[in-house]
Symmetry: C2
Subunit: 251 residues, 2 copies
């Protein structure tokens, strides 16, 4: 049950040692990534592997200047990519019909399954990882920095390197809070209390409430960390990117 241990031991690493990742190890991890399921075996994704300090600095700016992006030796940007497949089609007397939202989403699924395989493989070797959700927020700038052509959209990114910290496991909601038996059952107020009880009673939550001078943890999420204003702004930007990269033709 090696894998289970590995999956259960996952923690996001945000501090890294100044040690590079050997090329062969990185290749093997990426190769393991490509064994993930992919729609129709089309592999409609690309992984951009960035290690050069000057490029990393530009990506660091994209990713809200989070220190770990400068510290970690490797940044992996996972992209929905129909560009390669479209190019292949055109060189083989086939007319690709992948300039639409479904194709974007299919390619995004491909990219995300690969990213999680890469994360699992990396952790198995003692490397640490952290996902960068900012890849969608700042997709327009990442496209410029990495030179992504039409048909290619960043979906997520990972930093990768040797951990310089050993954080504890983060809390999760009870399993019954996120699974539904047979069909979806709507949440009752009592059910919500039960599901969020442990999270709301953590010392970390008490500290956050004190620090933010707010009454509930939900307010910290909705009114500070992930606000409507930001979400609406980045929604518009990401939809524009998807369109600009050629995935919103529905004729």
């Amino acid at each position: 049950m090696q894998t289970f241990d590995n999956l259960f031991n996952h923690r996001s690493i945000r501090k890294y040692r100044d040690t590079s990742v050997p090329d062969e190890l990185l290749e093997k991890i990426l190769l393991a990534g490509t064994r993930a399921s992919t729609t129709g075996n089309m592999q409609v994704y690309s992984i951009v592997v960035t290690t050069q300090p000057e490029l990393k600095k530009q990506l660091w700016e994209c990713h809200f200047k989070q220190d770990m992006v400068l510290q970690a030796p490797v940044i992996l940007t996972f992209c929905a990519d129909f560009n390669r497949f479209n190019t292949w089609c055109r060189l083989r007397k086939a007319e690709p019909g992948y300039d639409n939202f479904l194709s974007f989403f299919t390619a995004a699924i491909d990219a995300l399954l690969v990213s999680q395989n890469v994360a699992v493989a990396a952790e198995e070797t003692g490397l640490g990882i952290c996902y960068l959700g900012t890849a969608t927020y700042m997709a327009d700038r990442i496209i410029e920095v990495l030179g992504l052509p039409e048909g290619v959209v960043p979906v997520t990114a990972l930093v990768l390197g040797y951990p310089a910290e050993q954080p504890g496991l983060t809390d999760r909601l009870p399993l019954d809070g996120v699974i539904h038996r047979e069909t979806y059952r709507e949440y009752t107020p009592a059910g919500i209390d039960e599901i969020y009880r442990e999270k709301e009673s953590l010392p970390l939550t008490a500290a956050l409430l004190e620090e933010n001078q707010m009454e509930t943890l939900a307010q910290i999420f909705a009114h500070k960390r992930y606000t409507k204003k930001d979400n609406v702004f980045f929604s518009q930007k990401y939809l524009e990117v998807i369109e600009k990269q050629g995935f919103m033709n529905h004729e």
Copy 2:
């Protein structure tokens, strides 16, 4: 290097034995799934676990009547889910701002990382899995069958069970075909020839060309398997679902 072996041994299983999956084993696999990274530790996903024959039959119809959906004892439907989080916010005097595309996409990422962890965990125990890409195509019907409320959209699905076949490994493009060093390098015709050479020279490809009376493998993909007409049709449907479930408010 147990995990690596496991990842490298992945194959999609499309024939299943008539043996149910023990509840405790399934729980442990799902729990391993929930250890995947999640945006801001919000866990904005749900997993619907369906085993009842009558419901499975309805899902089988959604998934283009693929035999494996009836055969496999368990169907897992992974959903982007902000409904639980929104309900929590409203019960805690917080105003959720998650009725937009970025929030949908964030929740979809969460759901897909969990799905791949579940796939890896399941395979480690000797179970087989197969992804159902039809979850996006037929999201509207799946919503009806599983009773998904506003804020919940199916993103992918897995069948799970004990394999009744031992297929060989499927081919993958050479690693250099899907990774880019530092920044994206555009594909040249010679590069495309190199990347697709092995796939195009497989006996399976020759058989497909003969069977379909087509000249190139790319034509089989673009003109038969994943056509523009279908993609455009299902794009519209999926965008309508995303809007109907409350994720397209950008004010």
